[in-house]
Symmetry: C2
Subunit: 436 residues, 2 copies
Amino acid sequence: MRDLQVGLIGLGVVGTGTFEVLRRNQDEIRRRAGRGIAVRMVSRRDVAKAREIVGDAAEVVADPMTVATHPEIDIVVELIGGVERARELVLAAIGAGKHVVTANKALLAVHGTEIFEAARAKGVVVAFEAAVAGGIPIIKALREGLTANRIEWLAGIINGTTNFILSEMRSKGLDFGSVLAEAQRLGYAEADPTFDIEGVDAAHKATIMSAIAFGVPVQFSRCHVEGISSLQAADIRYAEQLGYRIKLLGVTRRRQHGIELRVHPTLIPATRLIANVEGAMNAVVVHGDAVGTTLYYGKGAGAEPTASAVIADLVDVTRLHTADPDHRVPHLAFQPGAMADTPILPMSEVVTSFYLRLVVADQAGVLARITGILAEHDISIDAVLQRESGEGERQTDLIILTHDTVEGRMDAALAQMQALPTVLAPIVKLRKEELK
Amino acid sequence: MRDLQVGLIGLGVVGTGTFEVLRRNQDEIRRRAGRGIAVRMVSRRDVAKAREIVGDAAEVVADPMTVATHPEIDIVVELIGGVERARELVLAAIGAGKHVVTANKALLAVHGTEIFEAARAKGVVVAFEAAVAGGIPIIKALREGLTANRIEWLAGIINGTTNFILSEMRSKGLDFGSVLAEAQRLGYAEADPTFDIEGVDAAHKATIMSAIAFGVPVQFSRCHVEGISSLQAADIRYAEQLGYRIKLLGVTRRRQHGIELRVHPTLIPATRLIANVEGAMNAVVVHGDAVGTTLYYGKGAGAEPTASAVIADLVDVTRLHTADPDHRVPHLAFQPGAMADTPILPMSEVVTSFYLRLVVADQAGVLARITGILAEHDISIDAVLQRESGEGERQTDLIILTHDTVEGRMDAALAQMQALPTVLAPIVKLRKEELK
C-alpha cells in the first residue's frame, strides 16, 4: 500500500518536530501502523528556511491553501495556530475531503462546533490530541479509555508557562513579576505572555475537555477565566503553611443542573500527586464513577512532545482512512445525535471551598465580626490562621479556609466583610479543591 | 441496530462490577458507542447466586463453555482467572468466531502468542486493557497514544497489594510480616498472597507491557521476578535517609543488544511523582524518545475500576465489530509481520545502579577494603552512609549507593566482599532507578 500522504501547514517549532519525528521513527511507526506515513508537502511563508529543514524530502510551498486542497494529500496537519486563518484552512481541507490533524486549541474551543459538523458532513476526521496537554494522550483517555464511566469531574494543570511560574514563585519565594521575566529569558514564556498568564490558553483546553467529558458542545465563551498575574507571594506562603499548593487549574465538573467550567488559581492539598507537578509539566486528573480518580502526566508543550500527539493522530487516521465513518470514535466522544444541552453554570452557582486573606485592624472583636458574617451566610469555616502582628504593627493578616459553598453566597458575604472599617485592604479570594 | 450481545464468563468481583457498571451507565455508554451493549448470558458455578445478581436481565448457566461458544453471543468476556481452563475457554470462543475481552494477565503473559495468533487467524479481537493496572488506560496509551515514539523504557507500580504493604512499612516503620497480616485483614492481600508478594502478578503485567512497548512476543519465562517478602524495614529507613523510596517496580528497558524485563524492589528518588504513589494505587511511567516521560495513575484493581477497563474494550470492539481487521490496532501494538526478535537479556547483563547494605566489623580499614573491591571492578560510588555504632557495639551498617553498572560485575564484586572476614552478614543488594 502506498504511504499515506501528509501535508504540513506551518513548519515552526511543532511542524519541524513533527517532520523530524516522522522521519526518525519511520520504521517504528510503520511497524505499528501497517503503512508508511510520508510528508508530501509543507507550507511556510519563508520557503527558503523551510527547504533548509525538509531538504528534498517534501515539496515546499508558501501558500498554505495549496497544501489544504492539494489533490495528492490525504491528511492535512494544521500547525499555524491563531483562529481565523486556521479556520479557513481547516474548513477548506475538510471541503476538499481531507482528514485534518490539528494542535489548535483556540480554533476548536471557539469554532469546534462548526468544524466538527463540517467534518461529519464530509465523512472525514478532525483529530486534535495535540490541542490539549501536548504529548499526554488525554484526549484518547477521555474519549476511549474511560467510555465506561459517567465522568464526574476533571481538573488539569494544562499550561506549562504558568505552572513554571508558580513553581518558581513557591520554591524561591519570588513575586510574579520577577519570575515572569526569568521565564521569558528561559523561553518558558512568550514575549507577550497574556494568553498564558491570564488563563486563556488553559481555558481553551478546559473547554475542549469539558465537551468530551460530558457530551456537550464546545462553549469557550461560557468558561470562567482567571489567570495568575495578580497572585501574590504571600498567598502561596500562607497556602503552604496550611498544607496546600496553588496551581492554575482548568476545572470542569458535573452538577445536578449544569456543568462548571472554569480556570483559576486553586489551592490543592500538598499531598495530592497533582500538587507535586512542578515546572513546565502538565497533568490532568479525571474522576469517573467506575474508575475513580486517574491521573495523566507529561510534557504539555514543546516540539517533540506535541509531535508525539500529532503523529498518534496520524496513525489513528491511517488505520481508519478507508473505514466506514460509523466505526470511528466521535469527535467529541459522544455520537453527534446524542449530545446533551446541559448548560454551563454561571460562577455564582459554582460550588467550591475558599481561601480568604483579609488585612484587618489588630483590635478586639474583628475575628468575631468576620466569622459572624460567614455564619450569617451559612458558610462554615474549615481553618483560621492569624499572623502574629509585629511590635507596634496595627494591622495583621487573617486567613480563612471555608468548607464548600456556592460562590454567589460567598461573594455576598465578602461584600459585607469588605465594607467593614476594620478590613483595611481588598480581600483576596482564592478557590480550593480537594481533588480526592 | 440491535445491542451487541455479551457473554460474561465468571461472575465474581470483577464480573459483578462489569455487569453493574454496564447496567448503571448504559445510556452514557450508548451515547458514546452509538450502540447498546447488553449482557446476554453469564456463567457461574453457583447458578443460584448468579441469578441473585443478574435477576432476569441475563441467562445464567453453570458451564462457561456454553457462553464461550453460544451462537447468539458476539463478545465473550473472560473473568475467571487462572491459566489452563481460561486458555481452553478463550481458544474455544475464538474458534467460534467471538471477540474476546479478558482481564487475565497470567493467561496472556504465558499463552499470549498462541492466543493472539488464533485470534488473528480467525479475524477476531482479543482485548485486554483490564489485564494491566486495572482502570488505568495504559494499554491504550502504549498501543495507540504513543505510536510516534521509540519507547525507551517503562516502569510501573502494577501490584496494589505490595504497594500497600510497602507504603505501610514506610509510614509506620513496621516489618513485612505484621503489615502483611494487616493487609490480609483489610482485604488488600489474599489469604495466599504468594503471587502478589513474590512479584509474579507484577511480572505477568510487565511482560505484557514489554511486548507492546517493543514489539516482541510475550515471554514471561524470561522475566526476572523478585518480590518484597525479604525486604527489611531497615532498608526502607536507610533509603529514606538517602532521599529514596522503595517500590516494587516492573521495569522493561530497551538496550543496544536486547531488552531488560524485571520485577524487583527498587529505590526511586523521593521527588519523583511515582515515588509518591501510596497505598493500593498503581502508576506506570513510560519514556518515549519524542514525548519524554509520561505517567499514568489510578486504581489497579477492584470491581469497578477493572470493569471500567473491560467496558472500554467492549466499546472499542463494538466500534470495530463489523470493520475490516486491517483497520484494527494490532494486539501487541505492532503488526504481526513486524514483530522483532530482540532477546530478553539475562540479569547479568542488566544495567542499574545499586543500594548495598553491609553489616561490617567496626574497625579501621573496612571501608577502604570494600571501596577498593568496587574500584577493582570499575564500579563507581554515588554515596556512602555509615551508621554511627553505639557504645560498645562492635559492628555497624555500611550503606553504599553505586552509579550504573552491569549486574554481573556487581555480583562478582559482591562475592568478593561477602568473603571478607569483616563482613558479618549476608549483604543486602537492591536496585535503584532514577526514572528521569
